[in-house]
Symmetry: C2
Subunit: 175 residues, 2 copies
DNA sequence: GCCGCATGATTGACACGTCAATCACCAGTG
DNA sequence: CACTGGTGATTGACGTGTCAATCATGCGGC
């Protein structure tokens, strides 16, 4: 997949010019705004369901996994986390009874992570309010055009970050 | 794609409709992409200057302050941090010799934060590479139109989050 | 079978952030 | 002046994230 193409096109001009202050301002606006949205939605999620955004991401990945169980490293890959981060977090979630870790049958080094009943229920109860919150604070703010434009812009940034990837799906997480 | 409807304008429609999966996808793309940009730029900043993004923000605010010194709570307000977060962080930065805290003359409860020579120098050395990195990974990716559109979208989101504010400057920090 | 090394996963040390509690001091009131 | 309430700032406990080190197991070559 690396050759055969006359290539280069694409957005990655080198451009020796300096950044304008408008660009910098917009960069700051992007950081600040997404940060604030994260905080608001994270706080509300925690408030209403006692789940952190990280918890939610883990539970979501497990829920969507075939068989509702995943090897630890697959899970890490799915949500794009470092393994040690996941290990720490699974420890905490296990203590809270949200997930379980069993020894893997086919590879004694491995661990299989699965939802507990409590974890599944917590996730179910968290989902609807969380979606509503995203809608309220994000989706309801923008026009359909703005959505499309924002989607394109994210797509552009992604292909700039990962020039060679074929289908630059937004990032790690789905949903 | 979604048209045919006269559509009520105004950003704060209540709209009983559910979020579409496209909207959710774009939300995830926004989160993932900004997260990745943060990580990349943060890692590079740390690599090249031994400053975390948080350090940088603090040093920037101090550099831009008149008199190069700020009361702790003013600093917190400028960069939109909780005071306790700032206090912890200033403790760490003080240990590393980047900033100094002196008792305030006019109010014995207060502390005045100022840059040390080391802190000022660290900031100076960090700035240019950091700007270059932002340009490379962000600014160089987008067309002028996309910048304007993105700016508008952030503006829209901000006014949706803070309906009454007059001049919805992107957020806390400048840059 | 044993060696070497890669791999799955965990651990420990430490930086960072949040929340609630605390401490010291200011200012207004009687 | 003593009381009291509010404010500036710090602290401690704890959850979270990163990095480097570790441990155990799998696996290919000899």
């Amino acid at each position: 997949m690396r050759d055969g193409k006359p290539v280069p096109i694409t957005t990655s001009a080198i451009s020796r010019r300096r950044m304008t202050s408008e660009e910098l301002t917009i960069w700051r606006a992007l950081l600040d705004t997404t940060d604030e949205l994260r905080r608001i939605l994270g706080a509300q999620l925690l408030q209403e369901s006692s789940l952190s955004p990280a918890d939610y991401q883990v539970l979501l990945a497990l829920r969507e996994a075939v068989g509702k169980r995943l090897r630890s490293s697959e899970l890490a890959a799915n949500i794009d986390w470092e393994r040690s981060r996941l290990s720490h977090h699974l420890g905490r979630m296990e203590r809270r009874g949200l997930i379980r870790r069993d020894d893997c049958v086919t590879d004694s080094r491995g661990a299989e992570v699965s939802l507990t009943a409590d974890g599944a229920q917590a996730f179910r109860h968290a989902t609807a309010p969380h979606m509503r919150a995203i809608k309220k604070h994000f989706a309801d703010a923008l026009t359909p055009e703005q959505f499309n434009l924002l989607g394109d812009i994210m797509q552009t940034l992604q292909s700039h970050l990962h020039p060679d990837v074929m289908t630059p799906r937004a990032g790690g997480g789905r949903a």
